[in-house]
């Protein structure tokens, strides 16, 4: 079965999961106490207005009708409905909130790769040397430091005492690359640290395993320099399990994004979801949970495809 067919099969697999997520996010929120209208307005709004709004949003129709209507809008014309209180179009809200989150998650993953992998190599090559113990301890530290505490400390150091990076806001690197990158540095570091710890330990353990493999000795017997043996032969093999770890931890990364967006005031989908939960904007919440789940599924797919690309032994069955 060719690579293309494998990809198609994986994409089709996303369908059922998205269906499950949409059902839960739609159902759970609609049926909870304090229906959308009462909660959104939150005041002793006079009954007729509440009734009128329920009519207007068709909230009195049976559950499945409303669910199919909602999903239909999304699938057919990408219309996620309206926010209740200010009639803002949810689709545009989601559209504007998605890029910052993607930039943040991607830069977080990048940080985790560019810190985690070299650190993993250093500590594997210097196995049981001081560098190894130091790197491992830092990795544990990275894993244990709460990202919001790290974020606050980074703000304190890098935008208060030594003001080089802005402490909040988001500029899309597409519009203004320099400013864009500057605003992303601290948040990316905050989000990426924990994952870089996981990547580093994964890289270290898989490298140690690879070093004991026969083909490494063959490479050395061919007269290759130590750097070539490590960077070309060993790392290429060790990357395979490490890549899957980054993919597996995307959920962890996304969790971190929600909090980091709050600290650095990045108008991403994490913050949108958090505000939607607190202000009971159900349409926004349902839409954003669906988008996050889709993001999640796509990343898992990307990890698998990268895995198949890196390891020629994988057959696409």
């Amino acid at each position: 079965m060719g690579y293309g067919a494998y990809v198609l099969k994986r994409v089709l697999l996303i369908g059922p999961i998205l269906f499950g997520v949409s059902l839960i996010s739609f159902g759970a929120l609609e049926l909870l106490p304090g229906g959308p209208v009462e909660a959104a307005f939150g005041t002793r709004a006079n009954p007729e207005l509440v009734e009128q709004l329920r009519e207007q949003y068709g909230l009195n129709r049976p559950f499945h009708v409303r669910y199919l209507d909602w999903v239909g809008d999304i699938v057919l014309n990408q219309d996620f409905g309206q926010t209740i209180r200010t009639e803002r179009d949810v689709s545009t809200l989601l559209a504007t909130s998605l890029p910052p989150t993607i930039w943040l998650a991607a830069s977080g993953a990048l940080v985790s790769v560019f810190i985690g992998i070299p650190a993993g190599i250093v500590s594997a090559v210097n196995h049981y040397e001081p560098e190894d113990y130091l790197a491992t301890f830092l990795a544990f530290l990275g894993l244990s430091i709460p990202n919001f505490f790290l974020g606050l400390v980074l703000i304190l150091v890098f935008s208060l005492y030594v003001p080089i990076f802005p402490s909040s806001g988001f500029v899309s690197p597409l519009e203004d690359p320099v400013e864009g990158v500057r605003t992303l540095v601290l948040p990316a570091l905050t989000v990426g640290t924990a994952i870089s710890a996981v990547v580093m330990r994964m890289m270290r353990s898989s490298l140690l395993e690879v070093f004991s493999e026969e083909y490494i000795r063959t490479a050395r017997a061919k007269g290759l320099t130590r750097a070539l043996v490590t960077n070309k032969h060993a790392v290429k093999n060790a990357l395979i399990p490490t890549v899957t770890v980054v993919g597996l931890n995307f959920g962890y990364l996304l969790g971190g994004v929600v909090i980091v967006e709050q600290i650095f005031a990045i108008p991403g989908i994490g913050r949108l979801t958090l505000t939607a939960i607190l202000t009971r904007e159900y349409r926004v919440l349902q839409g954003s949970l669906l988008v996050i789940a889709l993001l999640f599924a796509l990343v898992n797919l990307a990890t698998d495809l990268l895995y198949a690309y890196l390891d020629p032994r994988i057959k696409y069955d």
Binding site: G34, E38, A39, A40, F41, G42, T43, R44, A45, N46, L49, L53, R85, T86, E87, R88, T92, L93, T96, S97, I155, S159, L160, P163, P166, S167, S168, G169, F170, Q262, I263, F264, A265, P267, R271, L272, T275, L278, T279, R280
Partner: protein, 559 residues
Amino acid sequence: MSMARKTGGDEETGDRGVSRRTFVGAAGTTAATALAGCSGGDGTPTPTSGGGGGGGDGDDDSTPTADPAAAQRGGTLVAGMQSGLDGRDPHLVQAASTLRVLENIYGKLVEIDQDLKPVGQLATEWSVSDDDLTWTFQLREGVMFHPPESRELTAADVVYSFERLLNEDTGSPWRSNFTPIANVSADGDYTVVFEFDEPYAPFLFKLSSGGYILPEGADDASDYDIADQPVGTGPFVFDENVAQARTNVTAFEDYWGTDGDGNALPYLDEVEFQVIPEGQARLTNLQSGSIDWAVTVPPSQADSLEGSNSITLSNIPGTFYDYVGHNTTNAPLDDVRLRQAISWAISRESIVQGARFGYATPTQDPIPPASVWKDLISVDEPYSQDQARAESLREESDYDGEELTIQVGQQFPAQVNIAEIVQQQLGEVGITATVQPTDFGTMISNLNEGAYDLTIVGWSGFVDPDDMMYLQFHSGETFNQSNYSNEEVDELLEQGRQAAGDREERAAFYDDAIDIIAEEVPYTFLEFNDELAAWRNSVKNFTHISTGTPRFRDVWLEG
């Protein structure tokens, strides 16, 4: 329809886009006595403007008499706001941050000045009929609307705007301010007449909050959508909005306003309202110069700005006050002695210091310190912390140790701190209470349904005593969440609303009412928070108003 309240969020950390700051203008003088242009109460330069009453001769404009000659034109002022636009239609929005932006885009007949008094904006003068039932406003001529309307403002636009506000289908949160209006009509191009069935003293102040003027036929305009593209008469035109990030407005060339020497306003080319929810972050950006002006500086950081030579910290008494709300029908709080015990147990000074770092003034009543009504309405027998008296009252009452819950909005840490202080001080007099942070939306529903014992929450933006007390303490009114009912107080509030006499006369009713309210403790008033704003020294000629509303029409940037 409701006017929800606004809690501490606006002060410090992220205002979760939930807050509703209601601006309600205080009632000016009523009809009969003509009052020549009233100059500022406490010597601050006030705009020469038409006062209330007949024959007010409002001259051309209301800019403070700064030295306009040195004013430099151009530049972009970046303002750090607490949250993004919650909507773009001024008739449908109540969130503080949103209204602060729309204030610079839309115009209104009457606005509030530094002394919280109504002054003319689109209306040059106005008069009231002898029976106080008909208000007639003269419109300023030559006022242009923003593109794509780009035409002169006429009475028809004003009539259209108020009919839109009164129309239930619009679903405007401001509607209850204007329901007393029986009819609004245009008399020619530049005169608008409002008719009432009974006198409505606070009308001028109601106009100054929420009475925004939209072009006629805005809802079904073909070439723009009013919900996305605001079209007003203000000094700046809506340019762009990026959700949760920033809103840009650019100077309106045909703006009617001019400065003292007659050169056109506004001075600035553009204003960018940036969303920076974290108070600390707003401050950092202000210090680093990436923003020029910052709303609500966190009190905890205010001291560090005092000494700064590049930043001006403006600290004026605000219109936002915190209070302990009692649910007077919910045992054991139905016993007034327990409520009094609670009032005597609380030290307002420690709340001002603990929760607001000293940037607040203790209060016994809902009258803002800066308000002209302050010295006319006051509680004769004020409360202070007296633990012995509190304990004796508690023993007298039929309270026997039940645990009271204090509900507070979880999004507003300052108020959660107040709740913790109150809980501690109640504990010291034998009243056990627990703090229950709840999602703000849910909490408001609980307060409406009476599903609470005590609550820490606040009101803001009130300038007229009617707004401070009528809807809160009159039996059965929408905001009487304490379920408080006292005929005498109802009687006094109704008289206050319809009183024809001058301010002293009208104040008398409220002064009596507040004494009864203080006695029966539906509320324990705590403190009025200072209105803190800060801007770089390059920002010139900014007028800081107690309601916190930023008007950039006559502001200019140096260098």
